[in-house]
């Protein structure tokens, strides 16, 4: 069970290095693509980014646009319009239908 050992190693690494409330979510791996750090830095303030993975793959660009706009207008996320455009682009290209 080589893979299990790898998982254990990751888990131990996380325990040693993090010790924070976010220990578990550090295992979330979003797709590497342009805009990823903007997504993590903005969306990750209020919620873990597995919300993105969980809500895939079924939203078209319009759906992700509505979601990001809801986060800004309703939930009060202080996301600049430049960042919002990057986030919507990343989500539609990597987690969109």
């Amino acid at each position: 069970m080589r893979e299990e050992n790898i998982v254990k190693t990751i888990a131990i690494l996380m325990l040693l290095l993090s010790g924070t409330a976010f220990a578990d979510e550090s295992q979330i791996v979003l797709k590497d693509a342009p805009g990823k750090h903007v997504v993590v830095n903005n969306c990750g303030v209020c919620h873990s980014t597995d919300y993105i993975q969980m809500n895939s793959v079924f939203m078209e660009r319009k759906g992700w646009e509505a979601t990001v706009n809801k986060m800004i207008k309703v939930m009060g996320a202080p996301i600049s319009s430049d960042d919002a455009a990057i986030i919507i682009d990343y989500l539609s290209k990597n987690y969109g239908k």
């Binding site: 578990d24 295992q27 919620h47 919300y51 993975q53 793959v57 509505a66």
Partner: protein
């Protein structure tokens, strides 16, 4: 700052690449026989849900890490005394991530508002000693339970079947507390909240209300125990609201403030969220004071009549000539379950299942059915509950934007060889 998190993401990323991606979640699933949800869940939901244990909980189905949204695997739903969901397996649902821990000795409940004569404050000790202590067995079901099965899918926490549980709740009737405070004639709604758990000031605080008639119902209580133990932190310690029959959005965890008000409560969580299209679910209670003259929606209130097959998930193989036992649950908003019927011929004919012990109208009811498949091959099993006022489940989804009230009759396929 070169954060340790980006280092870990890098490390995990390269390992994931080495082994074909999505390393952690797939392994976690492969390690276990736990049913993570039906195949009708979104692909990303299935791929990234893992079993994960919160402090004090056993491993549950993690839908999101922060805020914590964890679903109960079907196998645990009735594990305690064959009818209750164990506290360490009870589903976890939070809206906002800045969650406080409140020690029992520090907890107080404020009762006030314009429609109260004598505002006062309660400690847990006073709650447990100054009022009649009562118990109610009731299903606590997230409004969004089964949202993940919506077709087409809708955004939100992608719950499968397990955002619900059945427990014996112990506490004090809300009406006893309100009567001590003195309810003014103009009281329209009871608003309530917990300590502010927002990350950002601009996020709407989670504050809810119920109509006075529901607040004064003898079954509506402030509970500090579930299944004989103090509430767990994740399920609302030190005390929470229990609103039997109504969906869990009104079962405020960590209840610290109650206000009686003469006008409808405003705010996102009442006016925009947790609403259903007006007229699509005509059999559930109306929360009239939260409707507007030209509005097209109304707050979600009661649970709709529903059932769940708990021992089969689909795809199981059985030996020809042997009976197949089908087991499940049925519940509604408190009218009580009248019958559960099972069909093994695609819904053409229905036979009554045997109902288990009646634990009260707000509890779920166990049922079982022995099916003798005629012939080898694929067989389908459907189950349908009907309550005492004749409400039953639907054959097709009554789609709504938030994915509420999914009581579509399940159809599970098995193989007989």
């Amino acid at each position: 700052m070169v954060s340790r998190r980006s280092f870990l993401k890098g490390a995990a990323g390269s390992l994931a690449l080495a082994s074909g991606g999505a390393l952690v979640s797939k392994l976690a699933q492969a390690d276990s026989n736990v049913f993570m949800g039906p195949t009708s869940l979104a692909s990303g939901t299935l791929e990234y849900s893992i079993l994960d244990a919160l402090p004090g909980k056993r491993p549950l189905i993690k839908r999101s890490f922060r805020p914590q949204n964890y679903e109960t695997p079907l196998a645990y739903l009735t594990e305690l005394d064959g009818i209750f969901t164990p506290n360490d397996a009870f589903f976890v649902r939070w809206h906002l991530a800045n969650i406080h821990e409140i020690a029992a000795k520090d907890w107080t409940l404020k009762i006030g508002g314009d429609s109260v004569d004598k505002p006062f404050e309660l400690t847990l000790d006073q709650l447990q000693n100054d009022f009649e202590q009562v118990e109610v067995i009731a299903v606590c079901q997230c409004s969004g339970n089964r949202r993940g099965l919506s077709d087409p899918h809708v955004a939100g926490v992608q719950w499968g079947y397990g955002a619900m549980g059945n427990a014996k709740w112990k506490g004090v009737r809300v009406r006893d507390i309100l009567n001590k405070a003195g309810v003014k004639k103009d009281a329209l709604e009871m608003a309530f909240q917990s300590p502010d758990s927002r990350i950002l000031d601009k996020t709407p605080d989670f504050i809810k209300s119920i109509p006075m008639w529901k607040a004064m119902d003898e079954n509506t209580i402030i509970a500090y125990e579930m299944n004989g133990d103090p509430l767990s932190h994740w399920n609302g310690a030190p005390a929470r609201l229990v609103v039997p029959g109504w969906t869990a959005t009104y079962w405020m965890k960590q209840l610290t403030s109650i206000t009686l008000i003469p006008q409808p409560l405003k705010g996102f969580w009442m006016e925009k969220a947790y609403r259903i299209p007006l007229g699509k679910f005509p059999e559930t209670d109306r929360f009239i004071s939260q409707e507007t003259p030209d509005g097209t929606s109304t707050p979600i209130t009661e649970m709709v009549v529903n059932s769940l097959i708990t021992n089969l998930h689909g795809g199981e193989h059985f030996k020809h000539g042997k009976p197949v036992e089908v087991k499940g649950l049925a519940w509604d908003s408190g009218r009580g379950i009248q019958t559960v019927e099972v069909s093994t011929d695609e819904g053409k004919t229905w036979l009554a299942a045997e109902l288990g012990k009646d634990h009260g109208n707000y509890s779920w009811r166990l049922w079982s059915f022995n099916f003798m498949p005629k012939g080898k091959g694929k067989h389908s099993i459907m189950a349908k509950a009907t309550n005492r006022v004749g409400s039953t489940q639907t054959f097709s989804l009554i789609w709504n934007p938030a994915g509420y009230h999914n009581n579509v009759i399940q159809k599970i396929d098995i193989e007989v060889a």
